[in-house]
Structures are given as C-alpha cells and as structure tokens.
C-alpha cells in the first residue's frame, strides 16, 4: 500500500499550471490553479462587514503567495485583477456573461500608468508608488486586526490607502526623511493622522489612477466585474 507521501507525489504530478499575464512586468508567470480549499477560504469570509473586502484581498494574497512561483513582493496590486481573472477563467470562462478569456486577452493591450511618482506639497515631498501585494496585505492586516470591532472606519480606510502608497516623506524645511518601510503600521497611521489633509490631495489622485486602472482590467464592453468572494461562486 502506498504511503501518504507517495500518494501526494502522485497527485502533484496530476496538477497543471496556467500562464498568467502580469502587467507590471509585462510577461507571463506560471501559476498553480485554484483548489477547492482555497475556493472555500475565499467564500468563508463572505460578509457584509466594512472590512470584508480587505479580508478578501488578504485571502487572495495568501492564494497568490501559495500558487505563484514568483515572490509576492514583486507582484503589484495592479496585477491582482489579472491573476484573479486567470484563476477564475481556468475554472469557468464565463462570469455573468463576461467572456473572461476575451477580457484577459484584451488586458494585455492596456497601457500601464506610472507605478511610482514624487509628489511635492508646500512643506513635504512624498515618494509614492503602487504597492506590492505583500505590502497591501501587511497594511490591511493591521487595519483588520486593530479596528475589527469598530463601526466607523471609513476614515481609517482612507489612511489605510495612504499608508500603502506612501514610501517616504521628506520635510522640505529640515531635509528630514521618514522612511515608511522602517516604520510600523501603527506609527504610519499616527504620522498620517497628524498631517494636514491638504497634503494628500495629489496622492489620492495618484491612488485613484491606479484603482481606475484596476477597474479597467475588470471591464469588458461596459460590464464591470466586481472582485469579491461572489466572483468565485461557480
């Protein structure tokens, strides 16, 4: 009789990989297909809570981390729609009358915006960039774990977005630099909460450009796919 390890080796040989187009590096990456356990994890967190989308994206991160042969630090949030579309397309090519295969083919032709930028305000210079899915996961986890019992979190969600996209803040007056990579999530939140909102106007515009591009990756012939656990109910 075969041992469990032998059986698992045999089973691994049955698994097939798919090629997923990663827009940020303009090339395909080999990815394992979605399994029932991962589908279950996505659906288990189906809820109406304000934080449900963040929880969903954290589940998505864990799946991409497990299935993509590439380092999750390389994969950008702007790549996420294409990866999810590909995983879903492998199971069923049609979602609510949208032909996912066609959408993925079209997405290869969408030009990518600048993923990083320097933004200057009266007192500061901000280094901003579209975050990796790893960073997105870390910041989302902080918010979910810290504020899971709070009802009013809209303001926190705004700061959460800034915390993901800002890498460095330079004070014009003193040349002092705050490197967000070296700060805890809690410190980033405190720093951002204590800055004037007017500093963030152009940063939000940059964030919106990235988010709009994500929406573009999810839209075909005017029909937009809503990325949520329901996308994986087949």
């Amino acid at each position: 009789m075969s041992s469990v390890n032998e059986i698992l080796n045999d089973l691994n040989s049955l698994k097939s990989d798919i090629q997923v187009y990663i827009p940020s590096i303009k090339s395909n990456k080999k990815t394992k297909t979605l399994n029932l356990k991962q589908q279950k994890e996505l659906l288990d967190n189906l809820s109406e809570s304000n934080l449900s989308l963040l929880t969903f994206f954290n589940d998505v991160f864990e799946i991409i981390n497990a299935n993509c042969s590439d380092d999750s630090k390389v994969i950008n949030v702007i790549d996420r729609p294409n990866i999810l579309l590909s995983l879903r397309c492998d199971v069923n090519k049609i979602y609510e009358e949208v032909n996912l295969e066609e959408l993925l083919k079209r997405n290869k032709d969408i030009p990518l915006p600048d993923l990083s930028k320097q933004i200057e305000t009266e007192h500061f210079v901000f280094d901003v960039s579209s975050p990796s899915i790893q960073r997105d996961y870390n910041v989302n986890s902080y918010l979910v774990n810290t504020y899971k019992n709070e009802e009013k979190i809209l303001g926190k969600l705004y700061i959460n977005e800034l915390s993901k996209f800002i890498n460095k803040i330079k004070f014009k007056s003193s040349e002092k630099v705050i490197d967000f990579d070296n700060e805890s999530n809690g410190n980033r939140f405190k720093i951002l909460e204590n800055m004037q909102s007017s500093n963030f106007q152009e940063i939000y515009s940059f964030i919106n450009d990235i988010r709009d591009k994500e929406v573009e990756y999810l839209t075909l012939d005017g029909t937009q796919i809503d990325l949520s656990p329901e996308f994986f109910v087949l």
């Binding site: 075969s2 045999d10 029932l36 589908q39 087949l234």
Partner: protein, 247 residues
C-alpha cells in the same frame, strides 16, 4: 467455546455480523442514552460494541446496523401514539428504503476523473465543501482515502452542482410515515433512531425485579440473556400462572 450470540445480516451487497445485546447491556445502554449529551457518539459506542468485523462502516452502513440492532432488541414493530391512536411501523420497511446500494460517482474536472463514494463521517457535514472532500475516494487511479485534507486535492469548481450530484446519488433514501406526516431521511435519521431506542427504563427495572424475584434469575442469567429472551420467560411464567388460576 465459540460465541454464538452473533447474527449475520445482509445489506448494501455485503454480509455483516452483529451481536445481540444482553438484558444488562441493553439496560446500561438505555441509561447511557438518557444521560448522553451527544446521541451520535452514544450510537457509535453501541455499534463498536455490537459490530463484529474489520469493516470500516460508512455513514449509511452505520444507520443500517443500528436499525438492525433495534430490530433484534425489540422486534421489527415500532408503535407511536398519536391522538390516542396507535400507529405501527415496521422497521424492516425502513431498512429496505435505505438499503439501496448506489454506484460510485466518477466526475471529470479538467483532465482528471474524481471518484466519490459514501462518507465515513458520523454525520453528514453541513458545509458543502467538507461534504464533497469527505466523499472523495480516488483521483484517476490514485486512492486518496487516507489523505486528511482533501479540499486541496479538488480543483475549484461548481461545488453546489457537485454537492447535489453526490447527495442525491448516495443519500436520497427516505421513508415517509403518512399517518405521522413524518419523513425519515438521512438528515433526520438519528433523531428517529433515538426515539425508537428509548424505552421505559422503569419498566425494565420492574422486569428485572420480577425475573429475580419469581424466576430466580441471577446476574449471570441477565448478562447472558437478551431482552426478548427475558420477555419470553416472563410470558411463560404469566401463562403458567394463568393456567394454574384457571385450573
């Protein structure tokens, strides 16, 4: 000396051997039922005690073993009282309703064939994905019954459709009692089993008292005779007493 208290029964195309409970064993089981916080565990203890053989029983086989044990203890008739009327049901008819062997399901997902069969759980999982993965026994020719987390082995799929396919194939058996407007199916079966196993514990103590008092039964006798046998002796005694009175 060989133990001859075992009885062969047949269902789902296999022969199974079960032991008849002695009076004492049944009394103790009844006490256990009344104090049990999880009736399914208690029924599993009964199966472990009565079932002879190395077969690992699946969910449906366990149900059929329990119905057969019930038939051995009390006979095949069950009486329910509704609106002061007795409604008699034959256990054998219920056994026949559930004793339908279903073929394995072979389902293709992608390039592979996934084979599903009866689950070995104590209850049918409410979670559909857990139910599906617990039903999986083979991928192509590879036996996966010993793999603990089979969710990872099945690709994402239309699990609602797959769930219905498996459930309707293996667990579609039911027995509708029209007079009670009560449907016995695989989801409600343990509640039904509990109701047909539970009997008057005080009546049993009273019988034990009489068996000891008038027929001089001792503990050895009660440990070796079944409830139906004890009832028979009591009936013989009552008949003798009636004959004496009439003469």
């Amino acid at each position: 000396m060989a133990d001859f208290r075992y009885i062969d029964i047949q269902f789902l195309d296999k022969t199974h051997t079960i032991k008849e409970l002695s009076f004492v064993e049944f009394k103790n089981f009844l006490k256990r039922i009344y104090s049990s916080t999880d009736i399914i565990i208690t029924f599993n203890e009964l199966i472990a005690h009565c079932y002879k053989g190395d077969n690992k029983l699946n969910y449906v086989e366990k149900i059929l073993v329990l119905l057969n044990i019930r038939g051995l203890i009390f006979g095949n008739e069950v009486t329910f009282v509704q609106n002061e009327k007795n409604i008699v049901i034959n256990i054998q008819e219920i056994i026949d309703s559930f004793n339908i062997k279903s073929k394995e399901i072979k389902h293709q997902i992608g390039d592979n064939i996934y084979t599903f069969n009866y689950i070995f759980d104590n209850h049918i999982p409410e979670n559909k994905l857990e139910f599906i993965s617990n039903s999986l026994i083979k991928i192509n020719d590879i036996d996966v019954t010993n793999i603990s987390d089979k969710n990872e082995l099945i690709p994402a799929c239309n699990f609602n459709e797959l769930y219905d396919l498996i459930y309707n194939n293996f667990y579609n058996g039911n027995f509708y009692i029209k007079k009670l407007d009560y449907d016995i199916n695989f989801s409600s079966i343990y509640t039904f089993l509990e109701s047909i196993f539970k009997s008057d514990l005080m009546g049993l103590y009273e019988m034990e008292y009489k068996l000891r008092e008038v027929l001089n039964f001792n503990t050895y006798d009660l440990e070796n005779m079944s409830l139906p046998e004890c009832k028979m002796f009591m009936n013989f005694y009552v008949r003798d007493q009636n004959d004496k009175e009439n003469n």
